[in-house]
């Protein structure tokens, strides 16, 4: 596996907001068909890293390649058709549209120019609609298909949030703290879902729950203050003296057992 070329690679990536260096010198290689997690305290730059990888913010310096292709300067919408999709930490749905429509749009986003035709109706058996239905059943939210997204419970909204990324049928899926705000019961289901997604996608996800991170990740990247602190398998990260010191010292949400 180690010989495989990375599906996504970041080389000396930096992001600057005004005078604030949110991300510096981040080098990362995501191997295909793995589950890769990013951990670190709030404010460590994890979400900024996702923003940079997906093109929501432009990198101040460094290089990003997707399957060997340089995507550093592509805008976010242009990266989606190349097979990369994401969910957001703060739920960001089309609040006034139905669940099915949310997912149909997300599926349509891969071929956005087809949607530019003002005469083309929405076929009930069109590809995007079919994908939307598939994703709903995979996520277990078919029952609320015709509800407006803004009216869903928090847990359902979080699942739909992940579903929006899945519906784009990406090869690489980025999940930004998918369990954020979830109760204990929902967390187990989300863990199972991420593990399941790992079967047919490469998954990169941000998470605070160590149970999920250590259980299902192939690789863990630990970030601190905008930089990568350590990267390795869960075992390696767990036993790394630097990480242990960081955790027990003062940086993490508690200790790592």
């Amino acid at each position: 596996m180690s010989a495989q070329a990375p599906i996504l690679a970041a080389d000396k990536l930096a992001v600057r907001y005004g005078s604030f260096l949110a991300l510096s010198d981040v080098t990362l290689a995501i191997k295909p068909n793995t589950i890769h997690s990013v951990i670190g305290p709030n404010g460590a730059g994890k979400t900024t890293l996702f923003h940079a990888l997906t093109g929501r913010v432009q990198a101040s310096s460094g290089r990003i390649t997707l399957n060997g292709r340089d995507i550093t300067h592509l805008s976010d919408d242009k990266r989606v058709p190349l097979g990369i999709a994401r969910s957001f930490q703060v739920t960001s749905l089309f609040q006034n549209l139905t669940v099915r429509e949310n997912l149909r749009l997300a599926a349509q986003g891969r071929t956005p120019l087809q949607a530019l035709a003002p005469w083309r109706g929405v076929e009930p058996d069109g590809e995007a609609t079919v994908i939307a239905d598939q994703v709903m059943s995979r996520l277990g939210i078919t029952a609320v298909a015709d509800r407006v997204a803004g009216e869903l419970s928090h847990g359902q909204q979080r699942r739909l949030e992940v579903g929006m990324a899945v519906a784009a049928k990406p090869r690489l899926i980025l999940l930004d703290e998918p369990t954020s705000g979830m109760g204990i019961d929902d967390i187990e289901a989300m863990k199972a879902l991420i593990r399941d997604l790992g079967r047919d996608h490469t998954v990169l996800f941000i998470e605070h729950n160590m149970g999920i991170v250590m259980n299902i990740s192939d690789t863990v990247t630990v970030m601190r203050a905008g930089r990568v602190l350590v990267e390795g398998s869960p075992m390696v990260v767990r036993d790394d003296p630097e990480v242990r010191r960081a955790y027990l010292g003062n940086m993490m949400t508690g200790d790592i057992a």
């Binding site: 997906t54 929501r56 805008s75 976010d76 919408d77 242009k78 989606v80 058709p81 999709a85 994401r86 957001f88 960001s92 749905l93 089309f94 609040q95 006034n96 549209l97 429509e101 749009l105 997300a106 349509q108 986003g109 891969r110 956005p112 120019l113 087809q114 949607a115 530019l116 035709a117 003002p118 005469w119 083309r120 109706g121 929405v122 509800r147 407006v148 009216e151 929006m164 784009a168």
Partner: protein, 323 residues
């Protein structure tokens, strides 16, 4: 029957009923012309979330183009109208492309500034546009066997175009394109994140809106035989916007309501009291404070109140309105 065909039938009823209630074919024609302009404005405001203060540009250009074509070339009416549509679309593409570089209020002010720019353009080049006097003596030639000289005959011509345009805009609004616009209106960031080139969609919406508004402007110039400077000024943009908001932005038929209300009420009031704009000003404040869903929203509320049974039916389907 689905909502969209119901709305089309309502629009058809309006087109057929206007002659029965109105003495003047000119006024009835104005209602339908502004109904087209307001629906086009609604495509931007209600569907895309873009508050354009520049709709007068496309309306005025439509008027000038049809007038200039008919005055200076031997081309037939149909072609002249087509030119208005094309110019409306092209200029709207340009204005849209520049304006959407900024968002929110900045966007509004940009469209307003463009509207001033085109006004002064028309004002400055008097040789072409007639400046303050307007472009006079625009003929209204026949279209093949159709004789459009009488005002009611011309009304019939406009009514057919209106229904075609209304149906077309409905089709646009319910297409994958229109539904993507709704998504952009709802959450632009997410729309971009799932892969939609948001700017391209907004510019396309502008082009369609400009085309229809240009057509409306052309029909208006043919109606009154003049392309006046007032068709391209600030007040034209303002009026089109006001009609759209008064009607309500939830669906296209609301714009027909808004235009009808505005044109008919202002005609009535202006014969009674020359300072009727004072009342209009007051009305705008009232709409903003108490009638934010516009006339359409008011109508829905009235119907709900009259039919208590439908309240429970609507309650089962959250987010659905009774019509």
């Amino acid at each position: 029957m689905n909502r969209s065909s119901l709305h089309f039938i309502l629009a058809a009823i309006v087109a057929v009923a206007l002659p029965l209630f109105m003495r003047s074919g000119t006024l009835a024609s104005e209602v339908l012309i502004y109904a087209m302009a307001a629906s086009a404005c609604n495509l931007l405001l209600g569907y895309t979330g873009l508050l354009s203060f520049g709709q007068g540009i496309f309306f005025g250009l439509g008027s000038y183009v049809v007038g200039l074509t008919l005055l200076h070339t031997p081309l037939p009416l149909g072609l002249a109208i087509l030119f208005s549509i094309v110019i409306g679309a092209l200029v709207a593409t340009g204005v849209g492309w520049l304006s959407i570089r900024r968002q929110g209020v900045y966007f509004v002010m940009l469209t307003l500034a463009f509207s001033q720019f085109f006004y002064f353009l028309a004002y400055t080049f008097k040789d072409i546009t007639g400046g303050d006097n307007g472009l006079l003596n625009i003929p209204r030639p026949d279209v093949g066997p159709l004789v459009l000289r009488s005002s009611w005959a011309y009304y019939a011509f406009i009514a057919i175009i209106f229904l075609l345009i209304f149906a077309t805009l409905q089709r646009v609004a319910s297409s994958t394109f229109g539904r993507t616009l709704l998504a952009i209106r709802d959450n632009e960031e997410r729309a971009r994140a799932i892969g939609f080139p948001v700017r391209t969609f907004k510019i396309t919406a502008f082009a369609i809106s400009g085309a229809v508004t240009g057509l409306a402007g052309a029909l208006h110039a043919l109606l009154i035989g003049v392309a006046p400077l007032s068709n391209i000024d600030y007040h034209m943009s303002e009026s089109i916007l006001i009609m759209t908001i008064i009607g309500g932005t939830g669906n296209l038929f609301a714009s027909v309501l808004g235009a009808g209300f505005y044109v008919i009420v202002s005609d009535l009031l202006s014969t009674i009291w020359p300072r009727w704009l004072l009342l209009l000003g007051g009305l705008l404040v009232v709409v903003a404070l108490f009638m934010q869903q516009g006339l359409w929203g008011l109508l829905e509320r009235i119907i709900l109140a009259l039919r208590p049974a439908s309240r429970t039916a609507a309650g089962k389907e959250p987010g659905r309105s009774p019509l």
